[in-house]
């Protein structure tokens, strides 16, 4: 086998770029850095298998001509793990962004629970303070008319406020 310089160069480049991105404060870049590092490691695993050969299927090739199947199995596992972790990190980035940038007033669950807890407390409550579904029947929506819009979880708010 002639040693190839291509794989080490690519692996090194990916590691460099990955570490650079990982050191950024922006979470999206951190995720991209992690993906690059993951791919670099996968390539590293691939290169540990020795020279390339035929697909390691019995009857398709002689054992001497086959490439080493073990690193490929390891890479498959590693890819699946990287994929799952990347999905989780994306969800966390989304959550973090919503926490920082969302201006909508969500429903305060603790508040609602306290309000429901005791009949005596509820008697003293101003119906305007309750969430729409907790208000007494027939009460007019005087204050919280846009509540449905504010608690909307489906439409993402635009950064800088909605108009």
């Amino acid at each position: 086998m002639t040693p190839t310089v291509v794989l080490p160069v690519i692996i090194g480049g990916l590691y460099t770029a990955g570490v650079y991105l990982l050191l950024d404060r922006s979470l999206t870049r951190v995720l991209l850095g992690f993906l690059l590092l993951g791919n670099a490691t996968n390539l590293l695993l691939l290169s540990t298998g020795g020279p390339s050969g035929m697909a390691p299927i019995l009857g398709y090739a002689e054992p001497e001509e086959m490439s080493d199947p073990l690193p490929q199995a390891l890479i498959l596992t590693a890819i699946v793990i990287t994929f799952g972790v990347a999905a989780f990190v994306l969800a966390m980035i989304h959550r973090s962004w919503r926490l920082a940038a969302d201006e909508g007033v969500g429903t305060d669950e603790e508040d609602r629970r306290v309000a429901r807890r005791s009949g005596t407390d509820a008697d003293e409550l101003d119906p305007d303070d309750l969430a729409p579904e907790d208000r007494p029947a027939g009460h007019a929506d005087s204050l919280h008319a846009p509540a449905a819009e504010a608690a909307d979880d489906v439409d993402l708010p635009l950064p800088g406020g909605r108009t």
Binding site: L22, L37, S96, E103, P146
Partner: protein, 567 residues
């Protein structure tokens, strides 16, 4: 017998996780299933420990593939002991969490993912303890890490997401280093089975060996929170829910320690990096405990003592002698139980006193004497007061250090004694300020400021972002006024509002299940003292196996029993 039992600590929690996921809408069934599963795992682990102690290490080739090709699970005394301790604390923490959930009435909330995730975590921990090859160890780590990401960010509140990001990124990095190390080891030796590596790594040039060893050590030291790779831990653990912090503190770092023990003894017995490990152990002990002394929050103090006491285990590993390893293994078992218990007690303190900040607690000993006892006993145990198990573990380590006799080892012995004293100082501060100090004491300026912040609804106000258009300001003012009125009404008649401004809060009653299970865990830590003789004998036999190495290797290569059920 062991061929059937060995895969069960991994299989049962995974199946249980699937089952609890299926019955996610029936919290009662979910709780029953997960408690049953963990009880079964505890039983299986005990049986495995008895078998491993009487018959020596056994290996099971999962799926019937011969050893170098297939996955092999190995039970020796070390891994069986780890399994027993891990499943004990896991069961305790689960019951605690169930008690907390029932008390909060939050059983039917989206946290129904708690049980499946917790079981997956235990499956990952068991897999890491049983793994007979490096890649399976990696998979075990990934399983437990993935579950821990979910548990740490449970609920997705802002502080948890912030802490979770640090934890996730650091863990990802350590996993990548570990994976790259596996790749390089495979390239150098052509195998990832640890029993085979034990022979083949020694044939490599010394430089290559040191490179591979240091890559593995860096990956594991990040997971085990060894200084200087420990900064992530006190930052991320304290924000999680109390049961989650407890199980993380007890188990996850110890899986890293287990991996260090395994690779240091089996793969790299030459001890090329023992000097570096020694200094790392000293720095971990001393710097960790200095951090603990500086904290004012009980959970953060406990997180720092956790980091600090990892140094003791590392010290035993770095000695490399059977005595050092026996002390380290005993200390791991002791520390898993003790740290979990202390975090559970911290959860109780937070629940009853409303906070874990020491400035805002006081008089707990008088007002809740039983809770005070629950804290005092494990705290003294952590500090190493005789005759408790912490003292026995530390004594064993120090004796092994003196027996080694080098200047470095003696420096470590001195560091260990200082750390033990400073640990006593740290827990004594918690005791005097949170428990002993009279409840009626005037609040310090610090406390008053904290109480003022707490009394104001400021943290819960909506934060305006951007201009929001016309009318948004009005709407917000109206909302705020409504919120203040509402809060006054909602808290009227309860003691909460009145005591917030005062020195101490009224104590909330504690659910019996939570107190009961914490008491049982305290009893377990005390019982470690009672059974210390046989237990220390067991760890000594485990350490001799590790130093000798041949029992482990021979178990993999001569009697791989085909497993009846695959993974």
């Amino acid at each position: 017998m062991s061929s059937v039992l060995t895969p069960l600590p991994v299989l049962l929690p995974l199946l249980g996780a699937a089952g609890t996921l299926l019955v996610g809408r029936h919290p009662r069934t979910q709780r029953t299933v997960s408690i049953l599963v963990l009880t079964a795992v505890l039983g299986v682990s005990l049986a495995l420990l008895l078998l491993a102690d009487s018959e020596g290490p056994t290996a099971v080739a999962v799926g019937g593939w011969p050893v170098p090709l297939g996955i092999v699970l190995v039970v020796d005394r070390l891994s069986a002991l780890m399994l027993v301790v891990a499943s004990t604390v896991a069961l305790g923490v689960l019951v605690f969490a169930v008690g907390q959930g029932s008390a909060d009435g939050s059983e039917a909330t989206p946290l129904s993912i708690f049980h499946p995730t917790f079981l997956v975590l235990i499956a990952g921990v068991s897999n890491a303890f049983l793994a007979g090859d490096l890649f399976n160890l990696y998979v075990g780590f990934e399983i437990l890490l993935m579950a821990s990401y979910v548990l740490l960010t449970l609920g997705g509140s802002a502080p948890r997401v912030r802490a979770g990001i640090t934890y996730v990124v650091v863990s990802l990095l350590s996993s990548l280093i570990f994976l790259a190390a596996i790749g390089l080891i495979y390239a150098a030796t052509g195998t990832v089975t640890m029993a085979q590596l034990a022979g083949r790594l020694a044939e490599l040039p010394e430089g290559t060996q040191v490179l591979l060893q240091s890559m593995l050590l860096i990956a594991f030291c990040i997971k085990a929170a060894v200084f200087p790779l420990s900064a992530w831990l006190p930052d991320s653990y304290p924000t999680a829910p109390a049961p989650v912090t407890a199980v993380f503190a007890g188990l996850l770092t110890k899986v890293g320690v287990y991996a260090i023990i395994r690779t240091q003894t089996l793969l790299f017995p030459a001890g090329a990096l023992d000097d570096v490990l020694m200094w790392a152990a000293l720095a971990t002990m001393v710097i960790g405990i200095l951090g603990a002394v500086a904290q004012t929050d009980i959970r953060r103090i406990l997180s720092f003592t956790l980091v600090s006491h990892i140094g003791y285990m590392l010290f035993g590993i770095a000695l490399g002698t059977a005595g050092g390893l026996a002390g380290a293994i005993f200390y791991v078992a002791h520390h898993i139980a003790i740290q979990t218990t202390l975090f559970l007690v911290a959860g109780l303190v937070e629940r009853t006193g409303g906070s874990t900040a020491m400035d805002r607690l006081g008089g707990l000993a008088q007002r809740s004497p039983f809770l005070a006892v629950l804290f005092f006993v494990p705290a003294m145990n952590l500090a190493g007061i005789p005759p408790l198990s912490g003292f026995i573990g530390k004594l064993g380590l120090l004796q092994a250090g003196v027996a080694e006799g080098s200047g470095q080892a003696l420096a470590l012995v001195a560091g260990g004694v200082v750390t033990s004293l400073l640990t006593l100082l740290a827990v004594a501060r918690v005791w005097t300020r949170a428990f002993w100090r009279p409840a009626t004491q005037e609040p310090s300026a610090d406390t008053a400021a904290a109480a003022a912040i707490d009394a104001a609804p400021a943290p819960r106000e909506p934060v305006p972002v951007g201009d929001g258009g016309a009318g948004a300001g009005e709407r917000q003012t109206a909302w705020l006024a409504a919120w203040r009125r509402h809060e006054d009404v909602a808290t009227a008649g309860t003691a909460v509002r009145a005591t917030r401004a005062g020195a101490v809060r009224a104590l909330r009653p504690l659910p019996g299940v939570m107190v009961g299970v914490t008491a049982v865990m305290v009893a377990v830590t005390v019982s470690l003292t009672v059974v210390a003789g046989p237990l220390y004998g067991l760890t000594q036999r485990a350490a001799e196996d590790l130093v000798e190495r041949t029992p482990y290797v021979e178990s993999v290569f001569t009697d791989p029993v085909p497993a009846e059920d695959g993974e």
